[in-house]
Symmetry: C2
Subunit: 592 residues, 2 copies
């Protein structure tokens, strides 16, 4: 689909740069939005094609292939990895992008707190599963549960992303998901499995079918002795059990595989955990399968950020693959850092299955797991004594205020960072180039003076001019060296924070239910004993939420210290390099 | 007159900053173009008034009170003087400003070489004095001879500047030039004097009334023995006689004087030459009288740059006076540096008259001086042997090519510098401010987490945020510390270069006349002897032109080395300061 854009102000092409001269108010057609470096390729009404600075134009809102940023991102620990040359026009779309506008009405993860409950339910599978189910069963899109269930991913309209992803997940693919449906427990089956687990989750209590937590609050018996999730009291309050050595893994060595006599090809990544040190291979869709499992199993208690995918766009396939890998690494690193997730059977299976048979068996088992949704709380065992429901509610309110506030703060940084990125790769270097050219032109005029003893000045002027051209290049390249990682980290947190409304929503619902306790007893919907049980289990849920928040906080403090160090370190180098270049240029001028 | 402007893109006012929110495409009315710092004050259709970044808007072309830059400027030697806070929106208008557009058609100093001679004559008093006379007698504007005769000043339509200058030259003046006309040989009389001298210059040779140089080429006898201007052969070729010690002076201590029982007030500056070390007082109009005298006397041989005036605009009277003084200092310094001008009787009178009587007598004498226009060549005595007319023409062509080329180069720097000035004082600091705010906002969100051991990060984040706010301020203030002087020097050269078409025009006319030599003899317009004399005198004119070019070159090489040193020195300091601030911010982050 061709995208039209309005020209905001005049731009005159420099000869020989493949640029296109455009006039303010002119309408042009984007022929390639992914040039990168602050440029897009466009065609004017006369059919001429050329490059135009992307912030000289305004895109017609409703562009499917300009999705806003999605959460998962490489942890700052990959700071030393050079960022691939991608178009961040897509990656770091500001708050005003179509996708986010959409998010802000109805799809806003925070609208779960809206007066109108449907506003929230439409994007919170925990609070309105059936709605989502219907939506899903209607859509053959295997990602539907993701894009609807996790709006923070801000993925554009499903259909477009679908084709897009299709193309990329199975390179040169023609058969869509036919293969995954039949072949190896693929998308549709996953969708099915998900649907099933949810139906189980809700149909037991038709009376409360509009809400999730009762399933746990009122279930007759808790899960069996295996997979206990203890919660200890640490210095900072309730904390998960953290293993001695932290799990970690390396995602590397993407290989193009093919099947059906080469008719269909795909990318396979090699994942090596620090535990076994034995690499296993996975395709992107296996990562997605893992994501679905983790979401089903832990989503009510632990924010599971969406996988990186649709927002990743590269000029070339290699770049796309490199960027996706970098972000898959970031996602895996975060999952490894989580004591509960990293220790789970399904995650361990993904990282260290022995052979194809082992993998297949493990997959089927994981898909049959019934300790999903709110039932995860049935495995949690706090060591501390029960909390009073009032205290629970206060904690919950505090967490929701904080996560909402941080979400705003993170989005502000992303918006400002995006604008800064565009200026640094667009008009600013162009200006330094023009300054450099102006000095060099004057120098060559002086050379033509025919006056003696001119050369010292003309050489110095030329050198000064070249220096400003070098500065132009430094300015244009800098964002990839520092801003990139600041943006990636904040994108990752935007994704994480987008999960909290779901998690907190479950708690709010549970709190409300416990509040209705007496009424429910009076109308004999529940027994007095069940009312006591509900309060006790709400306390357990609260310990889980607090442990999760404490995990979030400690990671947040580490991540932001890390990324700010990296950012400022690179910024210092940047300004020092420029100062040094200018010092050299200065030394060439002499006043006799 | 109210100026309309188009809003180029959306700008959202920051509360409490007296800013005005505007939408792209909206039309606003400029209520004050001279706010400075990249801002203008405007009113929207709803009558709201506030500040808008000047490069967010596009001015409706044909704005009288946005004149482009004029020549005179402080030499870089005043680099240590802090630049006053002026609106450089006026001072450094780019090539595309109305004034210069106007200049480029008809008023272009270079159009003297146009195929259409009238194009040239309209702005070159030497080649079409009568035209100018008529123009002048029609216009009561005392500056007419300046603004028409010296288009490089690019002063907007006379009428507006007139009122404007009127207001400024005589503060709270009501009577326009009534006083100066009667009082003390003021504007109109000067205009008269000028007209007279020109009439003398031309009516003697009705046959050649369209051109000037014949007056000298064919005059019966050269001026008497006094005021000889010898030309020596130096290493670089023909050179003026340079005095042992260079004349210099300090323009300082502007005082408001008043007359007519305080009804009329004016500014008086104190000028102290290094020769007598005795200060003399002069009003702006005395400087202008001196300019007129120098122009009449030396204009055919030596480029006499216009005085700084109409292009100087300040937000406050003090600023205006300070800026005008700085530029008068620059103009005087340049005149003092010129061996011929500084040594002239009229210039010495201006600098060192003993008393009012001495001044009045000297003025009358100077106004009666008949060695003006092309007759200045009659005082020039080259020591070297006569040049062949072919060589003369080659030299002349070379100079005109060079001065034209340098004029283009200088204007390019002014245009680019102006754009850079606007970016550095407009959008760029705003962006660094937003980055700083974003960090600080995130910091205050973190503070609200209620998590332990948060403070190190939040303090560091706040410090980083404040650092970017400081950087914003550094960026906005930097142009006054370096770009200002680069712009001033180039403005000064733009003015000087604008004088060359007049000077070179006289030579071209003389060359043509000598070429017609045989024809003139044949048609007995001149005698064979006069033909020989013409060739000899053409050689003298050429020596004068070469001496002047060599003077120009040596000054140019000094000035550009000087200003580039100053510019790069400040730029280095600027980037080092930022690097140091960021290094401090970096040191506050810690990854445990």
């Amino acid at each position: 689909m061709a995208q039209k854009a309005q020209v905001l102000y005049d731009f005159t092409a420099e000869p020989g740069n493949n640029e296109l001269t455009v006039k303010e108010g002119e309408t042009i057609t984007i022929t390639n939005p992914n040039i990168g470096g602050g440029w897009i390729e466009a065609q004017n009404s006369r059919g001429e094609i050329g490059l135009v600075p992307e912030d000289y134009i305004e895109l017609n809102k409703s562009f499917p292939s300009f999705p806003a940023a999605a959460p998962a991102a490489p942890a700052p620990s990959v700071g030393n990895v050079a960022a691939p040359d991608l178009s961040f026009f897509d990656a770091y779309a500001p708050a005003s992008t179509p996708a986010q506008n959409q998010a802000s009405n109805g799809n806003d993860p925070w609208s779960v707190w809206n007066a109108d409950p449907s506003g929230g339910s439409s994007n919170n599978w925990a609070s309105n599963p059936e709605g989502t189910q219907t939506g899903k069963s209607a859509a053959p899109d295997p990602w539907a549960s993701v894009s609807h269930g996790h709006p923070q991913a801000y993925q554009g309209p499903g259909a477009d992303d679908d084709e897009w992803d299709d193309e990329w997940d199975d390179v040169k693919s023609t058969g869509g998901y036919a293969e995954s449906e039949t072949g190896e427990g693929g998308a549709m089956q996953r969708g099915g499995a998900h649907a099933t687990s949810m139906k189980i989750a809700l149909n037991k209590f038709p009376g409360f079918s509009k809400s999730g937590p009762e399933l746990y609050l009122l279930c007759k018996q808790l899960a069996k002795g295996k997979d206990r999730l203890p919660i200890y009291m640490g210095e900072v309050g309730p904390v998960w059990f953290y293993p001695e050595t932290q799990l970690d893994c390396v995602v590397a060595d993407p290989k193009k595989g093919s099947k059906m006599y080469g008719l269909k090809s795909y990318i396979e990544y090699q994942i090596t955990p620090n535990t076994t040190n034995r690499p296993v291979n996975h395709r992107y869709k296996h990562f997605d399968w893992l994501y679905e499992r983790l979401l089903d199993k832990f989503g009510s208690a632990i924010p599971i950020p969406s996988l990186p995918d649709k927002q990743v766009t590269g000029r070339f396939e290699e770049e796309f693959i490199k960027m996706r890998m970098e972000r898959l690494q970031g996602w895996m690193t975060r999952m490894c850092r989580h004591p509960v997730v990293s220790n789970s059977e399904v995650f361990q299976l993904f990282l260290s299955y022995k052979d194809e048979k082992d993998w297949k068996t493990g997959k089927r088992k994981a898909e049959k797991d019934e300790t999903v949704g709110v039932m995860i709380f049935s495995t949690i065992e706090p060591e501390a004594s029960d909390l009073d429901p009032v205290e629970v509610e206060q904690k919950c309110e505090q967490f929701s205020r904080f996560t909402k506030a941080m979400d705003d703060g993170v989005k502000e940084i992303l918006t400002v960072g995006h604008e800064h990125w565009k200026r640094c790769t667009g008009p600013l270097p162009k200006e330094y180039q023009r300054i450099g050219k102006a000095f060099q032109n004057l120098s060559s005029v002086f050379t033509s003076s025919g006056y003696q003893g001119e050369s010292t000045l003309t050489d110095a002027l030329t050198a000064a001019g070249k220096t400003y051209e070098e500065i132009a290049q430094l300015v244009a390249e800098q964002p990839r060296k520092d801003l990139h990682f600041l943006m990636e980290t904040n994108n990752e947190y935007k994704g994480l924070l987008g999960c909290f409304p779901d998690t907190i929503g479950v708690h709010k619902a549970a709190i409300d239910k416990v509040k209705e306790g007496d009424k429910l007893v009076a109308t004999s919907k529940i027994t007095p004993q069940e009312k006591v049980t509900m309060a006790k289990r709400l306390s357990t849920m609260s310990y889980a939420l607090q442990a999760e928040m404490n995990h979030f906080h400690s990671n947040r403090i580490y991540d932001y210290n890390r990324v700010m160090q990296l950012y400022l370190e690179e910024q210092v180098k940047f300004y020092e390099t420029i100062a040094e270049k200018l010092r050299q240029a200065h030394s060439q001028f002499t006043t006799m």
